[in-house]
Structure formats: structure tokens, C-alpha cells
């Protein structure tokens, strides 16, 4: 208990800085801006901001990027409600009832409902993970190299199950691991650099992620001249938004259920806010006295979807920090941000920097408060961003991506890496291979390499004794289950048919 209190006090001290107060609203605004533009989302926002965040103190950088994440999830809901154009996939369920409410002239109330539901969902998940962090942390500090290796394999296979494309995900994950091991080997021998000594330290994360996540998306976006054809959007009324905020509390039971569903799904590796909001929406509909109202402008539908997709962020953050497994591309980027700051999420973070982990969770509370203020002030502007022509957005992001890639090490090769990864990302997306598998393998490749080598060295004489480690055995069984789950399910399904 003393350990928790001691770390909490240090964590609280870390947050007492003017920079935190400045960067939270800035991050929320950046997140809402790009989150409300379909095709860009929080992934692009965080990728572009990785370079500036590198020059901030560690806690400020992570809080700033977390604010972008939060802002983008909420921002995606604004255009879903007003135009039925979800800014992010996580906002699809929000549009089911949000847009019908707009068609009924209740768009301001719907925005108020969405805002308050987001804030409460985010708040509840922060409380839950605040309570769970230490028990989970106590478990993961027992992890050794074999368990860490198994966690990486499990993460990639579980993405395959969640995305429904098991083989292609595992393939991209394995390819990601191969790319992630380029550079110096555990013994310092160069591998896979083909004479390019600037790759000796490995492929730099920032240009690769910028290319794969931000630039590759531009090739799709540029095909359209406008994201949404310009039309007169509905004007927001502050009084009605406040009414919507108050109305949210009528659905307190749904809020609590959706927040718990969202946090729980966020905690699962590879699940994400999209799945959380869909499941929560379905759950609210099934348990409603009048399920037929859903899809026709039922405020409870907006509340269920928005609460869950925001609550999932807390869970995903907890899994990322304790196990080192990102639940989505956005948390994968946050994981990369931790690594860029010299911190390795997972057991080592909890063992060595528990105060830091608590500071990130404590920061979620001020973020949720700032979210209300920022959203209320700027909601009218964010909803109009979809009318910006793509001929401004695409070159603008291209410039920022190139600057982000070359400013990290001031090497021309980083710009080439950006282009190569952009093409790779584009081709993978076109072929419908999940990028998430690759990104996870790429980010965790060197970790897997070290863990694998250490496991081999530890158990070189008697490899089977590794099965005397109970946590390893549990993770091993779950991993094997994840590999046979889909074929087994298909076989059972076919037999029953």
C-alpha cells in the first residue's frame, strides 16, 4: 500500500506543470480536428505529432498524445451525428441514432448527449484502470523472457482473430517482426541492412509509421476531390447542447453498463473502440424496453456507443502499459511514443516506472474535463472540417510527414523509408491485409528477438523445462487456442449446417 501511495504522490507531482495544462487542450483540439475528417483519424494525428512530442518531457509527451487520442475518438462522433459521416470507425455506431436525431432537428441535443457520454465513459474507465493497474502490474512483473515472447505471439494471433483474417494478419505480423529485426543483432552484427550503415540501429520508427499510417492513407483520400460534398450543415445551439448534456444522466444505467463493456473490451489485446461501441450499442438495444426505437433517433443509442468507445481507451491504455500490447493502431503509436521516450511498456514499465504509469492514468481525469470545455467551444468548427477540399489536406499532410521523417535524424534515407513504407502500407491495404499485424510485429520485433534469444540461452540444455513456468504455460495454451480457434469454429459451424 505504501508503494502505491508513494508512487501516486510522485505521479501527482509529475502532472503539476504548466506544460501539461497547455498541451492537454492543444492535443484535444488536434485530435478533434483530424478525428472529425474521415480517412485521417487519430492515427494520422498522433503519427504527425510524434516528432514534436519527442522534444517534450516524457510525461508531457505521453499526456499530449493521449489527449490527441481522446480528442480524435470524440471528434469522429461529431460528423457521424451531423452528417452521417463517421470521422473514425469507432463512431459508426454513434451515427446509427445520432444522424436520425439530426434529421429530426435534434442535432444539438445529440452532440450534448455524445459529449457527456464520452466524458463519463472516459472517466469511469480511468477509475477502473486506476484500481486495476497495481494488481495487473504485480502479475506482469513476474514475466520473464519466455512470457514476453509468448505475449508478442499472442498479440499478433489475437489481432488475427479479432480482424477475422487470421492467416493474413499472422503473415503481416511475422513480416513485421522480420522488418523489426533489421539492424544490429544481439551480438552487434549488422543484419538485413544491405550495406546501409544508417540502418544499423534498425529502421527508425517515426518515418516508417508516418509512411505506413499517414502517407499511405493519402493515396486513398486523394481519389476524392471532397470528403463530403458541401451542403449547409445544421447550426448548433448552445442551450440545446447543454440540455443534451443534462439528458445524458437519464441513461445512467446504460452509461455504467457501456463504460464497463468498453473498458473490458479495451483491456482485451487487439480489440478496440470500434468493437466496443458496436457491442455496447447491440447490448443497449437488446436490453431496451423498446428496441425498435434504435436506429430511428434513440438518444440511448448515442449514449451507449459514445460511452463505450471512449471507455475502451482506458482499458487499451492499461493493456498497453502493463503487457506492452497495443489494442489498436492508435495505442500502437502510443507504445511507439513510450519507446521513443526511452520507456518500454510492459512489465518493465510497471516495475521501474510505476509512478509514470500512474501519472498517465491520473492525467485522464483532467483530459476528460478539458474535453467538455474544448468540445463546447469548438464543436461548430470541427463539424465543418469535412468540407475542406482534399487538394489542401493531402499536400499539407504530405509536407508535414516528410518534415517529420527527416527532422528526426536529419538523414535523407529517412524520407526514402517514408516513401517505401507508404507504398507498402498502400499495397497491404489494397490487398486487404490488416496493417495492425505488421505494425505490431514491427514495433515489437526487436523485443521478440531479445526475448527469444534469452529464452534460448536460458533453456538451451533442457528446452522443455520452460513448461515449468505456470504463466508461460497459460499464455502458451491461450496462444495455441487462438491458432486453432478459427478453423475449429468453422468446422463446427460447417458440421452444424
Amino acid at each position: 500500500m505504501d508503494l502505491i501511495i508513494e508512487n501516486l504522490v510522485t505521479a501527482f507531482g509529475m502532472l503539476l506543470s504548466w506544460q501539461i495544462l497547455m498541451y492537454i487542450p492543444l492535443g484535444l483540439m488536434i485530435g478533434m480536428t483530424l478525428g472529425s475528417i474521415p480517412g485521417l483519424s487519430g492515427v494520422t494525428a498522433i503519427t504527425l505529432m510524434l516528432i514534436p512530442s519527442y522534444y517534450m518531457p516524457s510525461i508531457v509527451a505521453i499526456v499530449f498524445l493521449t489527449s490527441i487520442y481522446t480528442g480524435s475518438v470524440y471528434g469522429g462522433g461529431i460528423t457521424a451525428v451531423l452528417m452521417n459521416v463517421p470521422g473514425t470507425p469507432a463512431a459508426i455506431a454513434t451515427g446509427f441514432d445520432g444522424y436520425p436525431l439530426t434529421q429530426q432537428g435534434k442535432h444539438s441535443e445529440a452532440l450534448g448527449l455524445g459529449l457527456m457520454a464520452s466524458v463519463i465513459g472516459f472517466f469511469i474507465s480511468a477509475v477502473v484502470i486506476f484500481i486495476l493497474l497495481f494488481p495487473i502490474g504485480k502479475l506482469v512483473v513476474k514475466f520473464g523472457p519466455p512470457e514476453i515472447l509468448m505475449v508478442v505471439v499472442l498479440a499478433i494471433s489475437s489481432i488475427g482473430i479479432v480482424k477475422g483474417k487470421f492467416i493474413s494478419t499472422v503473415m503481416t505480423g511475422l513480416f513485421g517482426i522480420i522488418i523489426g529485426t533489421i539492424g544490429a543483432s544481439p551480438h552487434g552484427t549488422p543484419r538485413g541492412i544491405f550495406g546501409l550503415m544508417s540502418l544499423y540501429e534498425g529502421i527508425p520508427l517515426i518515418p516508417a509509421l508516418l509512411g505506413m499510417l499517414a502517407v499511405s492513407e493519402l493515396f486513398f483520400m486523394v481519389e476524392k476531390k471532397m470528403i463530403v460534398e458541401k451542403k449547409e450543415g445544421p447550426k448548433q445551439n448552445m442551450g440545446k447542447i447543454i440540455k443534451g448534456i443534462k439528458d445524458t444522466f437519464k441513461y445512467w444505467k446504460t452509461i455504467i453498463k457501456s463504460a464497463l463493456i468498453g473498458t473490458g473490451i479495451g483491456l482485451l489485446p487487439a480489440a478496440g473502440s470500434t468493437i466496443a461501441s458496436m457491442i455496447s450499442y447491440g447490448f443497449a438495444k437488446r436490453n431496451s424496453d423498446d428496441p425498435d426505437k434504435f436506429g430511428k433517433g434513440e438518444p440511448e443509442g448515442v449514449v451507449a456507443a459514445e460511452t463505450a468507445n471512449n471507455a475502451s481507451q482506458g482499458g487499451a491504455l492499461a493493456t498497453m502499459m502493463t503487457l506492452g500490447i497495443p489494442g489498436s493502431a492508435t495505442t500502437a503509436l502510443l507504445l511507439a511514443a513510450f519507446m521513443i521516450q526511452g520507456l518500454t511498456p510492459g512489465p518493465f514499465l510497471i516495475r521501474d516506472h510505476l509512478d509514470f504509469a500512474y501519472a498517465v492514468i491520473l492525467a485522464l481525469f483532467p483530459i476528460s474535463i478539458f474535453l467538455i470545455i474544448t468540445a463546447l467551444v469548438f464543436v461548430n468548427y470541427f463539424s465543418r472540417l469535412v468540407f475542406v477540399p482534399t487538394f489542401y489536406i493531402v499536400p499539407g499532410i504530405m509536407l508535414m510527414a516528410v518534415l517529420g521523417s527527416i527532422s528526426f535524424r536529419s538523414l535523407q534515407i529517412d524520407a526514402i523509408i517514408l516513401i517505401v513504407f507508404a507504398l507498402l502500407g498502400y499495397i497491404l491495404k489494397k490487398l486487404e491485409y490488416p496493417l495492425m499485424g505488421f505494425i505490431l510485429g514491427f514495433i515489437l520485433g526487436s523485443l521478440a528477438d531479445t526475448a527469444f534469444v534469452r529464452t534460448m540461452v536460458l533453456y538451451s540444455g533442457e528446452p522443455l523445462t520452460v513448461f515449468k513456468r505456470p504463466i508461460f504455460v497459460v499464455l502458451f495454451i491461450i496462444t495455441i487456442m487462438s491458432f486453432i480457434y478459427k478453423p475449429l469454429k468453422e468446422k463446427i459451424f460447417n458440421n452444424s449446417n
Partner: protein
């Protein structure tokens, strides 16, 4: 994926330390097995073109080379090549205006205002605030 992994695997195979090649060897063989399964699955699903035509779906290769995304790709290549000669911000200013025009922007004054705002904003953030070294050439 397979071609690069094979080249990488063949290179790593000659490394002296067992620990330096073990993970890559294991991952390579797993990848190969999954690739074979994927190919068999695609053949079974009568996708005998192995999805590759999806990259150029609904269009032909020549049209693809002239498309809007090709403009973005070429301009990015030229941009990266020219930066060391003209400097980052000068090149960025020229490239932004050109790409906007090529993609259909016709309000010249508006393009220049946005261009100045964007390049100025990036200069302030990266050079003034973050004090980063940005490539310079003849100009800034």
C-alpha cells in the same frame, strides 16, 4: 513479403552466432508455411490472380500512372530529391502550391495564403520552438 524475407534469411544464414539468426530463421519458415496456406486458400476461392489485380482494380495500369494518387507519389519523390538543393522550406512552398494546383485548386491567392500559413507554421513549430535542424540548400 516473401521475396524480401527470403533475401534477408539467406543473408542471416551466414552469420556466425546462432543467436543472431535463430529468430529470423524461425519466423521465415513460419511465414513461408502461412504463405503457402494463403496461396492454397486463394486458389480454392478461385482468386487465382492472388488478389494482385485488386491494386489496379477498375482501371488499367496506364490510367493508374496518370491518376491523382500518382501525382501525389511523383511529387513526393521530386520533393525529397530537391530538398537538399533548395532547402526544406523553399521546396515545401513550391511543392505545396504545385500539388494543390495539379489536384484541382484554382484560387491562386487562397493557395498562396494557405501555403504561407502552413510553411510559416511548420517553421515556427520545428525551427523556432523545437530548434530542430531542417535541411538547407541554396535557401532555407
Amino acid at each position: 513479403m516473401i521475396i524480401y524475407s527470403t533475401v534477408y534469411y539467406l543473408e542471416v544464414r551466414n552469420l556466425g552466432h546462432f543467436e543472431d539468426r535463430i529468430l529470423i530463421t524461425a519466423v521465415f519458415w513460419f511465414l513461408l508455411v502461412f504463405a503457402v496456406i494463403e496461396v492454397i486458400k486463394n486458389i480454392k476461392n478461385l482468386e487465382s490472380d492472388f488478389k494482385i489485380t485488386k491494386i489496379f482494380s477498375n482501371t488499367n495500369f496506364i490510367q493508374e500512372l496518370k491518376s491523382r494518387k500518382a501525382i501525389v507519389f511523383y511529387s513526393m519523390l521530386i520533393y525529397i530529391i530537391v530538398i537538399p538543393f533548395l532547402g526544406f522550406f523553399t521546396t515545401s512552398f513550391i511543392v505545396f502550391a504545385t500539388v494543390v494546383y495539379l489536384l484541382g485548386g484554382r484560387k491562386i491567392a487562397m493557395i498562396l495564403i494557405v501555403d504561407l500559413g502552413l510553411c510559416g507554421g511548420m517553421y515556427y513549430l520545428f525551427v523556432v520552438l523545437l530548434r530542430l535542424r531542417v535541411p538547407e540548400g541554396l535557401f532555407i
